[in-house]
């Protein structure tokens, strides 16, 4: 079998479509077995799921903070405080700087893309 990415994505979505209540980990088992995936790939899937769960958890945290009347930047400060608990002031500053620089970079690249879309 010489599958393409599209074949694999289609197959994965078909399993989900036909079994909407299937546990996502079961779906992973079915698909990794079908495509004879390596142990490294299975570990990457687990780690990627953990990352997606983290994004989801933080999305809910931000939504809850908004309901309590906090702004996005106030929520950011709270999160930086949480993740740097026990760190020195220099370490806190480094994390805050990295987060803000990264966000700035992301948002600026969105502006560039918007410029391209508008051309």
């Amino acid at each position: 079998m010489n599958e393409t990415f599209e074949d694999i994505l289609t197959s994965t979505l078909e399993v989900l479509e036909q079994n909407p209540d299937m546990d996502i980990n079961k779906l992973v088992d079915v698909q990794t077995e079908k495509y004879k995936s390596s142990e490294e790939a299975k570990a990457t899937i687990d780690d990627t799921f953990a990352c997606l769960d983290k994004f989801t958890e933080l999305g809910h945290s931000l939504a809850d903070a908004r309901k309590e009347g906090l702004t996005r930047d106030q929520w950011l400060v709270q999160e930086i405080e949480r993740m740097t608990e026990g760190c020195t002031q220099d370490e806190k500053d480094a994390v805050a700087t990295a987060i803000v620089e990264s966000m700035e970079q992301h948002v600026e690249s969105e502006v560039e893309e918007a410029n391209l879309e508008n051309e």
Binding site: L62, R72, Q89, V95, I99, A114
Partner: protein, 219 residues
Amino acid sequence: MDIIKFAKENYGDFVKRANPAMNKMTALQTLLSGKELSNEEVPLIKEFKVVKDFLELPMGDKKEVVLKKAFATAVTIAKDKGVLPFEVNSSEQIASLVDDGLTRMKVAYQTATGKMDAYQAVDALVDRVATRVVGIADRVIEKGVPFVVDKLCIAMSKHPYTAALVPFVKASEKYIAPVAKAAVRAGVAVVAKAAKPILKKAVDTVKAVGKKILSWLNA
């Protein structure tokens, strides 16, 4: 920009890279260029209820993550088999690519269908950027990476997966029905038109927030 020009400039490059799937790609390209699909091409365009449901769900709904995980599974399996038509190098990049790509598609769809206005759309995109950046920083810190700004920036940077984003979104588009697809494309145009001034303001805000955060932390 008209749709044919858009298809040629944006989709053509992906088609070249996704050579093995050329027939299906040709069908989608037909659709993108606004032409009617032939009888042979129609079955090549997949339409999934799970994808449509994802587009319809409110932003941030708990069920969203299921589809994101399904896409992430397919991306990782394809990478393992060496057939992924774009490059991603870590769990964080795969998660960011899937989260960003599917969120963009959903925001565009919800904007075109009147579920959110352009301002809400841009705000939702910036919210997702914030949660991804904080999420990755959190994981990097948990993994014990030293507090070096450059390392954090590299881990969180959009650049490692930017090149993959366009082909990923284009590949994902074919899994939605033509009507929803048209809505997504219309939404992209609406968001893009409104985004420039709003995002410019967002950049200034983020810069101001950076100074504020540092002063709060130092207080």
